[in-house]
């Protein structure tokens, strides 16, 4: 045994020497990080890709942030207040807040940033969340007043997103947002080589205090199995993982730690209620009753997640067992199909994006076999992500396997689908008066208990109407060496706490 070990060690060392490989973690004050998908751009108002947001929130700051329990906490603004009628929102800015070039963050920057988001020429997707802003006043350099056309409780949560980041007014004027990253956040971007590498260094002027590391180097390693291999050899200190199959291997390595946290994004089977026979309520309900959500989760995602209803925000979510047909009932499903006139079933196509999420194909296969029991013959069509997005946005599908993003507020999360004026009504293809009025009530209500009751009713009604079949929420995974301390995973997936992470020797 000892001889075998010696031989293994020796051959390892020889191999290392041959390959000229460093086996020790390099410079301690730099965090070496890896992810499989790189950011796609630097304009915080235009980027919506997960990696872009994770990078940009280390460089830029919004007015407020949400913490791990999704409570609003200060960022550039130290305090905020709604007027009694809910139509005025006043922020006091942190006098210490500075951009990375040393200039103070003033109310003029805040005003210019929101005007840029609202300007249609910018093409900011988050604009839809800020349409209630009628005007912005800046009584002094440290005070900003938003005048709203109607009470809008969720606007504060929407402002916590990096898509509502405050950028320097001067850079907007110069047209350099997106080509130059100049924010007020904890790190400066020194170098970006797209799809290969990012180099960040600590912003010494950051109002949040000193960062725990001198810098972060992010490597893009497209294969997650290779990320894990690089972590085993201590080349990488911290990594973002998407694939549950890879993530579950992390705890098997004694020097590594897996952080996992349930996220707000949800896996869902979207039915298209504008296409026959999904136009029939009973057919949709039959599909809902025929699907065993736990089995989908167990098979496609190794049980890594939690069955969910439409609301994934822990403080507002209803216990799934209380929702319509969350316990599989094939007999009921068959009866519903018969009543709808489809006793013999029907054929339909389900679309999914290859690798996005990594579990998409497996989910479709489990659902295919479950629905076969009630006579529904599903044809699975997997597509490249962009092709899928194109079909999805046009509502050009019978059914779609999707992983849709969540938000810290249910109105911001769902108004795009389940209101009459929702921008993505043509994707949802279903709306009724009850859903629309519940959403409008939820938007105007500021009392937390009343809001909770409104959204509970919304969730119950939505699952009964079954336009979509919500399946489960998964975990967001980060893997780290055990000598990395201070990282706090959150349901929105932010890596902002890397600002306080330290590397212990």
């Amino acid at each position: 045994m000892a001889r075998h070990l010696t031989r293994t060690l020796l051959s390892g060392i020889t191999l290392a020497a041959m390959l000229g490989i460093a086996t020790v973690s390099s410079h301690a004050a730099t965090l070496h990080m890896a992810w499989s998908q790189d950011a796609t751009g630097l304009d915080p108002h235009k980027q919506t890709a997960f990696s872009s947001l994770r990078l940009l929130e280390l460089i830029y700051e919004p007015l407020v942030r949400v913490d791990a329990s999704l409570q609003i906490i200060p960022a550039i603004a130290t305090s905020w207040e709604f007027s009694k009628d809910g139509k005025e929102l006043t922020f006091k800015l942190d006098p210490k807040a500075k951009f990375q070039d040393g200039a103070a963050v003033t109310s003029a920057d805040v005003k210019a940033s929101f005007e840029r988001i609202l300007d249609e020429k910018t093409g900011a997707a988050a604009r839809a969340n800020f349409l209630s802003i009628a005007s912005i006043d800046t009584p002094d350099a440290a005070t900003v007043v938003f005048h709203l056309s109607q009470p809008d409780a969720p606007i504060l949560t929407a402002m916590s997103d990096v898509n509502a980041a405050i950028v320097p007014a001067g850079e907007i004027k110069a047209g350099s947002i997106g080509t130059k990253a100049l924010g007020s956040g904890p790190f400066k971007l020194d170098k970006w080589d797209p799809n290969a590498k990012e180099v960040l260094s600590a912003n010494k002027d950051w109002a949040g205090g000193a960062t725990g590391v001198d810098g972060i180097e992010i490597s893009v390693l497209p294969d997650e199995a290779a990320i894990l291999a690089a972590m085993r050899t201590k080349q990488i200190d911290f990594a973002l993982l998407n694939d549950p199959l890879v993530a579950t291997l992390v705890p098997k390595e004694s020097s590594l730690q897996l952080n996992r946290v349930p996220v707000l994004a949800y896996h869902v089977l979207q039915l298209n209620p504008s296409r026959k026979p999904m136009t029939e309520l009973k057919v949709r309900q039959a599909i809902s009753c025929a699907i065993d959500r736990q089995e989908v989760l167990d098979t496609a995602s190794l049980g890594e997640g939690k069955v969910t209803g439409p609301l994934t925000i822990p403080a507002l979510a209803t216990d799934p067992s209380q929702l319509f047909c969350y316990k599989r009932d094939v007999e009921k499903a068959k009866k519903l199909m018969q009543e709808a006139g489809y006793a013999d079933g029907f054929s339909a196509t389900v679309i999914g994006a290859t690798g996005e999420p990594p579990t998409a194909a497996a989910e479709a296969q489990v659902i295919q076999s479950q629905l076969a029991e009630i006579g529904v013959k599903l044809d699975i069509k997997m597509m490249e992500l962009n092709v899928y997005v194109d079909a999805w946005l046009k509502g050009d599908f019978d059914m779609a396997i999707a992983l849709n993003g969540g938000r810290a507020d249910p109105y911001t999360m769902y108004n795009r689908y389940w209101t009459k004026a929702g921008n993505l009504q043509k994707v949802a293809n279903y709306i009724d008066d009850t859903l629309d009025s519940q959403m409008q009530q939820g938007r105007a209500e500021t009392d937390p208990a009343k809001r909770k009751a409104i959204f509970a009713a919304f969730e119950k009604h939505l699952t009964e109407m079954s336009p979509w079949i919500w399946l489960y929420t998964s975990y967001s995974y980060t893997a780290q060496q055990k000598n990395i301390a201070g990282f706090v995973p959150t349901p929105i997936g932010t890596l902002f706490s890397l600002s306080k992470v330290t590397i212990q020797q």
Binding site: G12, L15, L19, T48, K121, R127, P222, D223, L393, R416
Partner: protein, 319 residues
């Protein structure tokens, strides 16, 4: 010489054809730069916002205007600007190309160094046990996908020995040759493995053919040594199919080895094109496909010229 001029004269025509093909093909794929950037959030844009973004990406003009501008730019040596990198397409390509070229050369060297001796050995030991062994090994090499071999190497090294070449930051050859070689040797072995298997099989069968030719028999009967028969008489003629195979394979490798570059996180041409397609970076896709096509044509031409060098009886361009 005439032949060379004539071949070179066809280059612009072929490139024109390739340019039309790639221009139309990438635009026929559903999805555009806007959905690539915003994903499903693109659905939240108003028509005015969409128009403004299309103008930014240069996709607001009709196809023929876009094509005309692009071709006009190429004639002035300008392949356009990549929207992902915010830099001229040619700069981005030339930055990635050295790695791809080096990887292609290295894997070819490995393939030829391992494959040719194995093939010749098998041919000279025809139908013996050792020949069977080489043939089985070659069959395994050809049928092992590069991603399986690549992941196997990475897994074995990292889990078994706790070592792995540094990934993520690639060191160019002229900056740090040792580190560069350490990063490229495993990908080159991964690529060279299947390539070596093909070389083995083709050099074995070419050698067998040649060894049964009359002139070889004559050489033998004149008392030439076995070594001299193989190396002086048979090998030069057996090389022609090997050169053809290597040329084609090398041409492919110059287009980038997507899977191996993905697994080993190498910033080569293949990964760049794949990312560019996914992000619908039209200028970059078009520019790099043209560049790859040009490389392929040059390699093909060199292969043809190599035939003449190997066999003086071959006259190129004569009917």
């Amino acid at each position: 010489m005439n032949y060379l001029m004539r071949r070179l004269a066809t280059f612009p025509l072929v490139l024109l054809g390739v340019s039309i093909l790639v221009f139309v093909a990438i635009r026929m794929v559903p999805g555009d730069s806007i959905t690539a950037m915003l994903g499903t959030e693109a659905g939240l844009l108003t028509p005015a916002q969409r128009d403004s973004l299309a103008a930014y990406f240069g996709t607001d003009q009709p196809w023929f205007v876009q094509y005309w501008r692009w071709i006009g730019g190429i004639l002035h040596g300008n392949l356009g600007i990549s929207v992902t990198y915010g830099r001229p397409v040619l700069d981005v390509i030339l930055e990635r190309f050295p790695l791809t070229l080096e990887l292609a050369v290295l894997s070819m060297v490995i393939a030829l160094a391992a494959g040719m001796p194995a093939g010749i050995y098998a041919a000279t030991h025809n139908e013996k046990l050792s020949d069977l062994g080489v043939r089985i090994a070659a069959m395994i090499g050809q049928s092992t996908p590069s991603f399986v071999l690549g992941l196997l190497i990475i897994y074995t090294l990292s889990a078994g020995f706790g070592v792995l070449p540094a990934m993520g930051e690639f060191a160019p050859l002229w900056q740090d040759p040792l580190r560069n070689l350490s990063q490229l040797i495993l990908p080159a072995i991964t690529l060279g493995f299947a390539f070596a298997a093909s070389v083995t099989r083709i050099s074995r069968s070419a050698m067998l053919d040649v060894l049964s030719d009359d002139y070889v028999r004559t050489a033998r009967s004149k008392g030439a040594s076995a070594r001299s028969v193989i190396w002086r008489h048979a090998l030069p003629n057996a090389l022609i199919p090997v050169v053809t195979l290597s040329g084609i394979e090398f041409g492919y490798l110059l287009g980038g080895a997507v899977i191996v570059e993905q697994i080993y996180a190498l910033p080569g041409l293949g990964r760049m094109v794949l990312d560019a397609i996914q992000q619908r970076d039209y200028a970059l896709v078009q520019g790099s496909v043209l560049f790859i096509a040009l490389n392929f044509m040059i390699v093909n031409l060199l292969v043809d010229l190599a035939y003449v060098a190997l066999d003086p009886r071959i006259r190129l361009g004569e009917s």
